[in-house]
Symmetry: C2
Subunit: 298 residues, 2 copies
């Protein structure tokens, strides 16, 4: 327990969709920010986020907003995050805290660290510069197949895990400051390397997404009227945004391929038991899966 | 619209778990039965079903209960259904309506029809006899990964599909009578051959169950704390009863293998797009899956 609650005078959220909007709502519900500025490209989304009180102010000018920020959260699709982080770093006051909410981490953190290593090579007139801001990547393992500020929820992070993924060179004080931020939203923070994050999330999120999409697409239209709760549950995440998910999967392709291979291996074992009419082995395989599933609750 | 609602003076439900209990609750809520007798092997389940008012009377003596039935529903696991149908047929008054709620149909209907074809070969002292009862197989495509009478719900069938699967030789009047029964519980009845049923359900239910089990079992324990809603949804049905599911899968093994092969084919396409870094193709595959999923609603 800390004696005082962490508080940030000005928080800038880049991207006011489900995650960005939920961050704004959580900050305001918990009174952890003086003001929240939402930055985005879509005036409609910004207006909706403001109407829903997820943000206090809206801006399409990232540099101007970031220049007054104490903390910046980049909550856009993973493909755009490295470029936005560069823009944030250029516009932010030195020492500004920065984090992101991307579903992959290795590529994003590596891109930031590459910029950091350029420190000291800055030349007059060159675009090369070291990092001025203090970035620590993060991934709130919460979400939905829905999107947009209308789906935002101040409780989205409550009791859920956020994984914070410092690089080897990240100062411990920065990790602590970003941990405080995600904790302030109600989440339980775990810390691991970006590579461990991507390996684990390939198994718990990215590969299941591929499998859900495959089940949905493999089901012929004539069979659809005869689906029930099981099919609906199994395929639900296939309703997620294809552009966002393509970028996540491409960002983490080797780990996703390995996770799919693990899943295919278990499927083969079940199929073998089925085709050899080995009921005992089939029950045993299904029982192990049930135990693994039951360990998580409903 | 019928002028009068179908009503059965005495309905016997063999198996008072989730499905059998829900049938009892629905019959009573809709006042479609004079009395409902539950038959089972477990006195505890029977007592619970009676306490929950899913049945009026409980019996462990199948023959005695069935002898007074106007309609019998067999709502046990698929492996036991053919044997129970034989017992029901032996004990029932000639012309008694009989249906089942098994998740597979071809083997169950074939076993019944085999008995029907023995009509006329009945010999004194032989156990061989033709069918006295009027059986039409059915499958209410509703359910849950939960089980037992405590999970029963009078609305379980409301607005859901029940597939009725007559054999080629089933009299149309019997199909109509059994259609009336499942309609009376609130379900929308579709009619198809047992083989079509099994082929379609392999795709909409049995193969997704295998996939869900494979995802659950492939996820290492260290990754479990980092699962979110997507993993939980995708794997939910893996919590189903392994014994019941092993029998369903074994009953429909060739169709399940074909459905799994379809799913593997789509998975391979997604993996190919991923490994060749073909974003456009990956988005297109995920978009098709999303459209297929969106066609069903949440």
């Amino acid at each position: 327990m800390k004696a005082t609650k962490a508080h940030w005078p000005t928080v800038v959220i880049v991207g006011v969709g489900l995650i960005g909007g939920s961050i704004g709502l959580a900050l305001k519900a918990r009174k952890r920010a003086g003001r929240v500025i939402g930055v985005g490209r879509s005036p409609a989304s910004l207006a909706e986020a403001k109407r829903l009180h997820a943000i206090d102010e809206a801006s399409t000018d990232l540099a101007a907003a970031v220049a007054v920020a104490d903390l910046v959260v980049v909550a856009t699709g993973v493909a755009s995050i490295p470029g936005i982080l560069d823009q944030v770093d250029t516009a932010a006051r030195p020492g500004t805290l920065v984090t992101d909410a991307g579903s992959t981490k290795a590529r994003i953190v590596a891109a930031w660290e590459k910029g950091r290593s350029l420190r000291g090579t800055r030349k007059s007139g060159s675009s090369l510069r070291g990092r001025q801001a203090r970035f620590v990547g993060a991934h709130p393992v919460a979400g939905s197949h829905r999107r947009g500020p209308a789906a935002a929820d101040p409780q989205l992070f409550q009791g859920r895990v956020t994984i914070v993924t410092p690089a080897a060179a990240t100062p411990p004080a920065d990790v602590e400051a970003i941990t405080d931020f995600w904790s302030a939203l109600g989440s339980n923070v775990a810390t691991m390397t970006p590579r461990d994050h991507d390996r684990i999330l390939a198994m718990t999120s990215h590969a299941p997404h591929v499998v859900a999409a495959a089940v949905a697409a493999a089901t012929p239209a004539e069979a659809r009227p005869f689906t029930a709760g099981g099919w609906r549950d199994t395929t639900r995440i296939a309703a997620g945004d294809p552009e966002l998910w393509a970028d996540i999967l491409l960002d983490n392709a080797p780990a996703v391929a390995r996770a799919l291979s693990r899943i295919a291996g278990v499927t083969e074992k079940i199929l073998d038991a089925l085709e050899s009419n080995d009921r005992r082995r089939l029950v045993s395989l299904l029982m192990r899966a049930k135990e693994d599933r039951d360990a998580l609750g409903s």
